[in-house]
């Protein structure tokens, strides 16, 4: 290739000996598709008629979402007592659900931002949907801290705005840091997602306008900001995208770190552990990838996106799930080891109690789902069986929900003084409110796949071999034609 020798001097003799054995990298877009095929495929989903299955899912999702609406309305109208909280367990399902949903959101940012910085091109077929997943997960997550305060109409007290008591917010509290962290995370995720959408909205604007649908052309055009594909614009756009990826990375790490601080800055045995920050972050990425797999595998089958979400993509996602699951396993080991090493009797008790106390059932569900389940991904046969991968991804999320449950509830139910001990069970309102959030998430996600491009067309094209300006420009007959 032309750039092998940089200077005018003779290239070092070692270069003459270079003779790599070919080991082709996985193709990111299979079957030699053209740019036009990608545009047609993705836009086709939006331009076509709404399929029946979508309506069915949408109606079901709305129904399930109504549980949350009903639950929260009843909560605000009646009081926090409708939940199962009681001394000593005053944080339970509400905070578990909050951490659960925020954690799921983190995979989206990881895929968009961190994989972008690591130059992993395979991210392009899943990052749009994953970012959407992040935003909707943050919406579901935010419901809980907002509503668990009880008097929701005072929730604005959390922001540094002067109030009638002339008192300021308590910046020493991790709950206040959460307000800033989650707000920033939601805002930046939406902005990052929107910036990624700009070129695709422009394509849709022009296609709808050319097809004569002026209303939709205008709607997409409004949000497309007049994007016209100018390379001078791309130059600033790419830089902005890179910077957003660069700041989203520390953002996603910090958000779950601050969430972990909710527990780790306290004195409670089982909570106060220095490894919580990276442990929570690894766990969030783990659960998030589980959810990405849960969403993308059916999407891939329904819309026949196998050429864009290839076995290589599924492989990579499974491997990341395995790696982060192993890191979570390391953290479990470290916690247990230091509980012994630190010789703090309360800490030691906390861990024995988790495994053998009243919540032992939850603990063993957690261990089997988080430590054992991901180990299946070592095996190629498992990774290639998409149904099995999908089932395992559900287990991953179940396990991660139970992890947060075990951490929060066992430590509160059995803290320092036996006279303060108590058992917690959720009330029916809490259960319905939580399951309803899956409906809320589904409604938002279904709307997304119906009206917005489910994959970033511009980014996908950019990683295809035809996009290389130093290549032949024509990788087979598909490069410029509209052939399928």
């Amino acid at each position: 290739m032309s750039h092998a020798a940089e200077s005018a001097h003779d290239a070092p003799s070692i270069l003459r000996e270079v003779n790599p054995t070919p080991l082709p990298r996985a193709t990111l877009v299979e079957n030699n598709r053209s740019f036009g095929w990608i545009t047609d495929k993705i836009c086709g989903i939006i331009e076509g008629k709404t399929p029946t299955w979508w309506w069915v899912c949408f109606v079901v999702a709305c129904f399930v979402a109504s549980f949350t609406v009903a639950g929260l309305t009843y909560l605000v109208a009646t009081g926090v007592g409708v939940w199962g909280h009681a001394n000593p367990v005053n944080w339970a399902w509400d905070i578990v659900n909050f951490v659960f949903w925020i954690g799921i959101g983190h995979a989206g940012t990881l895929i968009s931002a961190i994989l972008c910085l690591l130059r992993q091109k395979w991210r392009t077929s899943i990052n749009r949907a994953a970012e959407a997943m992040t935003i909707f997960a943050v919406v579901c997550a935010a419901l809980f801290p907002v509503f668990h305060v009880g008097r929701v109409w005072f929730a604005w007290y959390l922001f540094p705005i002067p109030n009638s008591n002339y008192i300021w917010q308590n910046f020493r509290s991790p709950l206040e840091w959460d307000v800033f962290a989650v707000s920033t995370y939601g805002t930046v995720s939406v902005l990052f997602w929107y910036v990624g959408l700009l070129p695709d909205l422009a394509i849709l604007r022009d296609r709808f306008t050319a097809a004569g649908n002026r209303l939709r052309g205008w709607l997409y055009g409004f949000f497309a900001m007049g994007w016209r594909g100018s390379n001078r614009h791309w130059s600033n756009y790419e830089m902005a995208y890179l910077i957003l990826a660069g700041i989203s990375t520390p953002l996603v790490l910090s958000v779950h770190t601050i969430v972990s601080f909710d527990f780790a800055v306290s004195l409670i045995p089982g909570w106060h552990t220095t490894i919580f920050p990276p442990y929570f972050v690894a766990g969030a990425i783990f659960s998030g990838f589980g959810m990405v797999l849960t969403l993308m595998l059916p999407l891939r089958a329904i819309y026949r996106l196998e050429d864009l979400i290839t076995q290589y993509h599924i492989d990579c996602m499974c491997k990341i799930t395995l790696a982060t699951g192993t890191i979570v396993g390391y953290a479990y080991g470290m916690e247990f080891f230091i509980a012994w090493y630190g010789a703090n009797p309360y800490e030691g008790f906390a861990f024995i109690n988790r495994a053998f106390g009243h919540y032992a059932w939850a603990y063993w569900i957690m261990i089997s789902c988080n430590v054992i389940t991901p180990q299946f991904f070592w095996f190629k046969k498992v990774r290639e069986n998409t149904t099995l991968v999908w089932v395992l991804s559900i287990f991953v999320n179940v396990g991660m929900w139970f992890e947060r449950f075990v951490i929060i509830v066992t430590s509160l139910a059995r803290d320092f003084l036996p006279s303060s001990w108590g058992y917690y069970s959720p009330s029916i309102v809490e259960i319905f409110t939580f399951f309803g959030t899956f409906g809320v998430f589904s409604v938002l996600f279904l709307l997304f796949i119906r009206f917005l491009p489910v994959m970033p067309m511009a980014e996908l094209k950019a990683v295809m071999p035809q996009a290389d300006p130093h290549g032949s420009g024509d990788a087979g007959h598909g490069a410029s034609g509209r052939s399928h």
């Binding site: 290739m1 750039h3 092998a4 020798a5 940089e6 200077s7 001097h9 290239a11 070092p12 070692i14 270069l15 000996e17 270079v18 003779n19 790599p20 054995t21 070919p22 080991l23 990298r25 910085l117 690591l118 130059r119 790419e238 830089m239 890179l242 520390p250 790490l253 770190t257 601080f261 780790a264 800055v265 306290s266 004195l267 106060h272 552990t273 220095t274 490894i275 919580f276 920050p277 990276p278 192993t326 390391y330 953290a331 080991g333 470290m334 916690e335 080891f337 230091i338 012994w340 090493y341 630190g342 010789a343 703090n344 070592w378």
Partner: protein
């Protein structure tokens, strides 16, 4: 073209001289202080080797392309593990000949009044609870096991990589991936156990789940710094012209930046959580490094800590933000040297304050006995550099038949050209 016997010979001489001078320190400052210095040197150079081990394995597990051209140099660096194991022997010997000199719990009869406590270690319930781990046999077993595993992993990775130069067989690539896949968890666990036993247990009352992660972050930073220094050295010699381009320098600079942030994140988390909960059983370790109980005033270690914060985070962070600087072959060596030096300071900060005086306060940072730290670092370092230089001419400069070498040689980023 080969680095040649002269350079390796020089490194060996410097190494032996450093070791000899450190041995002299036994007569001047006593065995305990020299042993502490020796431990610092071993965790420093051992950390660099460990960082290189992790980088090689991470490269394989990611099927990375840009780093193929420098991976070979890290593989040469792994040759130092067996010498580090050998150099660790004096500390193992001290376990039997002078128990309690470094790790107080080696000697249950050690009188804690010497360090401001009361009773003996054997009477200390906080030791008794972990006596199953904190005893000479466990120490030796874990040390031997850890070095054994690191040497074995290094040998596997090196052998496969070097063999591939000859036949280009893809089986060596697959073998390395498998080694990396099980090697990473294995290295993580052994690194954690080793640093817990060697360093954290110096103050055996203290504990932190984050400690292994902290050491890992520091090791990778130091290894990357060595990588940059090697890249520039080989560029200046001419070997790497036409092999390395600006994008390689940019990428390793970006990795250094990322790990600078990661180190700060880990260190901050550990400090902050302990600060916020304010539990005396945990905070004493940091208090030891901030003030003397005898005077109530700040001690020298507080300023070392501040230097760590600014020198190991803020300064490298802002320096490595600049795109142009990461490409500069005149500035980056200084940044790399700086980071490696502060990694050494970080280890001194973690290790030395456990050497306490009769009041239970840490001995001051700037004292005569720090000279032995310097000589020990030079001594152990000379041996490690000698091991690297001995390995260097035995293979090709770059993995000429690695399937990704072509991509690596023509590496270009989207924004760099």
């Amino acid at each position: 073209m080969a680095a040649g016997a002269p350079a390796a010979g020089r490194a060996l001489v410097i190494g032996l001289a450093g070791i000899a001078l450190t041995a002299l320190g036994l007569l001047v400052s006593g065995g305990a202080k020299v042993a502490f210095s020796w431990l610092v040197a071993l965790t420093f150079w051992g950390g660099i080797a460990l960082g290189m081990l992790f980088l090689v394995m991470i490269h394989h597990i990611f099927d990375a392309s840009w780093s193929v051209v420098i991976r070979r140099q890290f593989e040469h660096g792994l040759a130092s593990f067996k010498w580090l194991a050998l150099l660790f022997l004096p500390l193992v010997a001290s376990v039997y000949f002078a128990p309690g000199a470094v790790w107080k719990w080696m000697n249950p009869a050690y009188d804690l009044a010497q360090v401001g406590g009361s009773g003996t270690v054997g009477e200390d319930v906080l030791w008794a609870k972990k006596a199953a781990l904190l005893n000479p046999t466990a120490f030796v077993v874990i040390t031997v096991l850890s070095f054994g595993i690191w040497i074995w992993l290094s040998a596997r990775l090196r052998a496969a990589s070097f063999a591939q130069d000859a036949d280009g067989d893809l089986k060596w690539t697959y073998r390395n991936r498998v080694t990396a896949a099980f090697g990473l968890p294995l290295a993580a666990v052994t690194l954690t156990l080793a640093i817990v036993l060697w360093v954290k247990s110096l103050d055996y009352h203290w504990f932190s789940t984050m400690y292994g992660v902290w050491y890992f972050a520091g090791c990778v930073r130091a290894a990357l710094s060595m990588g940059v220094l090697i890249m520039v050295w080989l560029w200046v010699r001419g070997d790497y012209r036409g092999v390395l381009n600006a994008n390689h320098f940019h990428s390793i600079g970006q990795l250094m930046f990322a790990f600078t942030v990661f180190w700060a994140y880990v260190t901050f988390s550990q400090y902050f959580l302990i600060w916020n909960a304010n539990i005396p059983e945990e905070t004493f370790w940091y208090n030891l490094r901030e003030m003397n109980s005898a005077t109530g005033f700040a001690n020298q270690w507080k300023w070392v800590g501040m230097l760590l914060l600014f020198g190991h985070f803020f300064v490298p962070f802002f320096l490595l933000l600049s795109y142009k600087r990461k490409l500069s072959r005149t500035q980056m060596p200084w940044v790399a040297l700086w980071i490696a030096a502060i990694f050494l300071l970080d280890l001194i900060y973690n290790i030395w304050p456990s050497k306490k005086d009769g009041n239970g306060d840490a001995l001051p940072f700037l004292q005569l006995h720090q000279v032995w730290t310097v000589t020990a670092v030079i001594g152990v370092g000379g041996i490690c550099v000698w091991a690297y230089l001995r390995s260097f001419p035995t293979t090709k400069l770059i993995p000429i038949r690695d399937p990704r070498i072509g991509e690596s040689l023509t590496y270009h980023e989207s924004s760099a050209d």
